[in-house]
Amino acid sequence: MARRRRRNRRVIEVPEGEVNNGNGAGPTSANDTQVESALTLSGLPEELLLMILGYLEHPRDLNACQGVNHYWKSLAIQVGIKKTIALWKRWDPSETAFHRSLARLPSPTLKLESFDKTDYPAGLKTSWGKTSPTLSTHSLSLKPLGRTCCQPEILFLSRRTEPERLSMRNSLVLSSFFETYGHHLTYLHLFDLKLHPQQLYSALQKMPNLEALTLTTVGVGTHILDRRYTNVTYNYSSPCSKLTHLRMGNRTDHWTLQDKVFKWFESQLTSLEYDGSDYTLNSNSWVFQGRSNNEGEPNINYVPFKKVERLKIYSDWEYFSHDNIVPFVAVKHFSLLLMQPLDYQKLTRLLKYLDKMAGTLVHLHLHVEVQYQLNTRVPLDRKIVVFSNLTKFAITDDGVSGLVPYFLKRFKKLEKLQLLNNFELRYNHDNLEEGELIQKIVSRFEDENYWALCGTRARLNSIQFKKNQFTFNSRVELVIFLSIQFLSS
């Protein structure tokens, strides 16, 4: 017995960098060693099957997997949901909610479906008993949405070109669709629609699995005055408990929709994007203002978005015109894009507001402009509030870079600093050697007391800085994005 065990124990002496193929010429394949296996795909655990299906890019393939058997159907649906939500979780702080919404419109490879064709979900077709329920109205279209996935979990609803509000008939179509199909949805994008909040509430109640919602250019229309809705008492409890990601695009009616949607979901959201760029709708109020108590004083106990970790706000300066802005007590990633330049007062408000997030912020992205160079007027001697967790910081360089010393005193753990604006460097490429070009770029920054270490390629899109006039922590990496325009001779 012992002898047999010794025979089986093949000990291969392996010097470093060599395992078993003595000839060292290319890989030893399974065939070379006559390896065979009867293992099938069914032998893999679920986590590995999910990983394999996760590589499928085309919805056609995921749909094919759904047709294999019940187990594969459940796997393919899981992958579809994961891909959908992954699109949400990718953090690109410089994107505005509005542009991001548009970027999610169906890619050309996807077939656009609409209710006036027959390829709508079978259940809806059956419930209406007609082949083309909206043939006469043409006012509602359903489109699959998403870069890599157009599973039924993703739905893009849009009014088409007709300017009229949704008719009652279409509301019924919508309602019928959600009734039949709502439980499939994990991501819903409403675009260019007119809805009453009560309609939206009812629709969302039929989507128990909804995790992400985008509203872009959603208004209430004239039927806000309809008698059917005037006496509705709103229920502020959440209509769908799984929803954690909300993107409020611009031109979405503030008074009757935004306010209510925020109240429905304020206690459960983890990711919030707000595009308030259409300030004409919101100029008289601000959705993130705190509440007042009976005496008219701010209610400091009102903490509505206590779970929001990713926050993106694209707005005008009105955001900081109120003292009573609700705090985001758990926010880790904050991106602020302000449309109008800040003056000294507004900048001070901004800095004070940021101090309130000092305990939780990990990534801060400030896309702001100032009206003039603030280098000398920034209140650098303000009390230093240490941002104990912040490791990434991005800020527009134009003018605002004068604030960097202010921030560096506070960001003790900073690892990455990005300056965001594009430099206009125009050189005649044909007459300029690569080394000269780099030298010119370097000298440009030397003028500003930077010391740059450039790459070797002329077509630079980034320059790594090792140090500049600021005292950096040794771990700090400073990246500046450059846009270099070459002139042809």
């Binding site: 000990v11 890989p27 590589y55 393939d61 079978a122 039924p152």
Partner: protein, 169 residues
């Protein structure tokens, strides 16, 4: 050179450098555990992998050897959308390595790479299986992977109809 003895489920022992072995998350942990528990710092660790047979272990070690100078990929990179990073790291050598293998061996390699925490190998093997699904019909997938349908009645047709509205022509 510090060595470690890695023993497969069927008793074959592979003597490899610790530097190479540490490319595997599992082996690295085992080596460190051995070091902490051993009084003799010169002692050679011996790690028994009871779930991987010799031929498969040999292939894993061979892949590790080829990629011993690659940067180590973070374990959870790109995990949000449920896939790995095969596109990033697949070389011609990898393609030659995998090309002659039958599916059963690839499955065992996936299990081994997962058990030994070799992310790069796991990614390329999963991607290989995915490539055998892409573009195939339901019946072709069933045939390729020896899968049986358990749909009853018109369930399969219902599934097809449910998805028809979002599939291009």
């Amino acid at each position: 050179m510090a060595l470690v003895r890695v023993i497969s489920s069927d008793g074959a022992a592979f003597l490899v450098s610790q530097r190479l072995a540490k490319r595997s998350g599992k082996l690295k942990t085992e080596i460190e555990t051995f070091r902490k528990s051993s009084d003799n710092s010169e002692a050679q660790p011996e790690i028994r992998i009871v779930t991987i047979r010799a031929e498969i272990l040999r292939l894993v070690l061979q892949w590790l050897q080829q990629h011993q100078n690659d940067p180590v990929l973070p374990a959870n990179q790109n995990e949000q959308d449920g896939r790995g990073d095969a596109e990033m790291g697949q070389s011609q050598w990898d393609r030659d390595f995998l090309a002659p293998m039958d599916l059963g061996i690839v499955m065992e390699l996936i299990l081994a790479a997962n058990h030994l925490e070799v992310k790069g190998l796991l990614d390329i093997t999963c991607k290989l299986v995915e490539s055998k699904i892409t573009g195939r019909t339901v019946d072709e997938i069933r045939t390729a992977f020896k899968l049986k349908s358990d749909f009853k009645g018109n369930e399969e047709e219902q599934t097809r109809l449910e998805n028809r509205w979002c599939v291009e022509n």
